[in-house]
C-alpha cells in the first residue's frame, strides 16, 4: 500500500516537473545547441613532400571522367562505390598512420571489390590511375585480389565493369597498409549496410535491362540510401569490428541520480 502511494506521488512529481520544465522552455524559448554532425573529411597525403587534401568531389570528378571515357556513360550507382571506397580509405589511413600524414608512395591498397568506380577511387589516391602522370610525383600500390585469392591484372574500366556483375556484400573488403612498416588494416563494410535484395536488384537493373520501372526506382532509392550512409554515418555504423562509443559514465550516474531524487522527493512529500 505504502509502495503504491510512493509510486503515485513519484508519478505526480514527474508530471509536475515535466510541465514546469516545458513551461520554462516554452517561455524562455531556449534552443538546443546545434548537434555535431558527422563530417566527411578529406584524405590527406603527402606527394613528394607536398601535402595534398583530396576531397570526395575531386575523386568523383576523376572517376566520372574516366568511366565516361571508357564506356560513354556512367552507371547510375557509381557514386555509391566512390563513397564506399573513399570512406574505407579515410578509415584505413587513420587506423594505420594514426593521425600522421602518409606519403603517397607508402600507401598500399588491396581491394576485394572488382568494380571500376571504387578501383579508380583507390587508384586516384595511390596515384596509380590512368592519366595521372601529371597529377602526381610518386605513387603507391593498388591491387585487386578477389576473395579466392585471384589477382585481377586487367583493371580496365570495361573489364572491371563486367566483373562487377556478380559482386556481393562480402566483396566489400579493403586492406590498407603501409609499405614501409608492413602495418595494415582491413576495412570491411557491414553486410547489413546493403538491403537483402540489393545485389540481385543491381544485376537486374544495371546489367539485365529487364527490370520493371518499379524495380528501377527501388534500386535508385536503395543505392542512394547506401550512399547517404557512406557519406553521413559514423565508422562503427558501416564498418565491421568497430565499437560504438560507450555512453559516458557521468550520463549513467546522472540518470540514477534523477530517479533517486524523484523517489526521495516523493517520500518527503
Amino acid at each position: 500500500m505504502k509502495v503504491g502511494k510512493i509510486g503515485i506521488k513519484a508519478l505526480v512529481l514527474v508530471l509536475i516537473m515535466f510541465y514546469a520544465l516545458a513551461a520554462i522552455a516554452w517561455v524562455t524559448g531556449v534552443e538546443a545547441p546545434e548537434e555535431e554532425e558527422f563530417e566527411l573529411g578529406e584524405v590527406t597525403i603527402e606527394d613528394n613532400g607536398t601535402e595534398l587534401a583530396i576531397s570526395i568531389d575531386e575523386v568523383s570528378e576523376y572517376v566520372t571522367e574516366k568511366i565516361e571515357d571508357a564506356m560513354g556513360s556512367v552507371p547510375e550507382d557509381m557514386e555509391m562505390f566512390v563513397s564506399g571506397a573513399y570512406r574505407a580509405t579515410l578509415l584505413g589511413i587513420s587506423e594505420v598512420w594514426e593521425g600522421e600524414v602518409p606519403s603517397r608512395d607508402d600507401i598500399k591498397i588491396v581491394s576485394s571489390l572488382p568494380e571500376p568506380a571504387s578501383a579508380l577511387c583507390f587508384q586516384y589516391i595511390t596515384g596509380t590511375g590512368p592519366s595521372m602522370e601529371n597529377l602526381r610525383a610518386e605513387n603507391g600500390v593498388f591491387e585487386i585480389v578477389l576473395q579466392d585469392g585471384t589477382l585481377v591484372e586487367n583493371t580496365s574500366v570495361q573489364h572491371l565493369y563486367e566483373l562487377s556483375k556478380n559482386i556481393t556484400a562480402d566483396d566489400w573488403k579493403f586492406e590498407i597498409s603501409s609499405i614501409s612498416t608492413g602495418e595494415s588494416f582491413v576495412v570491411e563494410v557491414k553486410g547489413d549496410v546493403f538491403p537483402e535484395d540489393f545485389f540481385g536488384l543491381r544485376e537486374k537493373v544495371v546489367f539485365g535491362q529487364t527490370a520493371s520501372e518499379k524495380e528501377g526506382q527501388e534500386f535508385t532509392w536503395e543505392w542512394s540510401d547506401i550512399n547517404d550512409g557512406f557519406q553521413g554515418f559514423e565508422d562503427y555504423e558501416i564498418f565491421e569490428g568497430l565499437e560504438e562509443p560507450a555512453p559516458d559514465s557521468a550520463t549513467i550516474v546522472a540518470l540514477i541520480a534523477v530517479i533517486l531524487a524523484i523517489v526521495i522527493l516523493a517520500l518527503i512529500i
Binding site: 516545458a22 522552455a25 531556449v30 534552443e31 538546443a32 562509443p245 550520463t251 546522472a254 534523477v258
Partner: protein
Amino acid sequence: MKFKLGSAYFAILGVITLAFGGLEVVTGLPGIEGLSTGALEIPPDLWRGIIIFFAGAFITAGAFKLRDIHGLGMSTFGSIMLWIIAGCDIFTRIMESIPNGAGGLNSLEGFLATYGPPYSPALFLLPFSLVIFYFIKEVEK
C-alpha cells in the same frame, strides 16, 4: 450540478481528443505530412492517431453518464489510453534530455530545449484529463 458540469467538460474534452486523433490518423496516411502550428505538432503516426481517436470516443461516450459507474469507467478508460500516449512522449523527452547524443551529458540549454515546443496533442490534453480523478473520488463517496 457537479456531474452535469463534469459531463459537459468531458464531452468537450472527448470531442477535442477525437478530433486530434482523427488528424493524427489523416497525417499518418502515406503521402501526407504532419501538421504543425505554433507550439502544437500533429505527429504523422497512424497507430498513435487511432489510439487517441478511440480515447476521445470513450471519453465522449462516458461523459454523458458520468454519475453511472459504467459511464465513469468508460471515460476513465479513454483517459488511460490518452495517458499511455502522453506518458510515452514524456518518457521520451526525459530520456533524451540527459545525454547529449554523443556519449556525454547534455548542456543546460540542450536539457531545457528538449522540453520545449512543439508538443503533441496528447501532452496538451493530459492535464485536462486528470480531472477524472475528482469524479472518481466523488462517485466513491
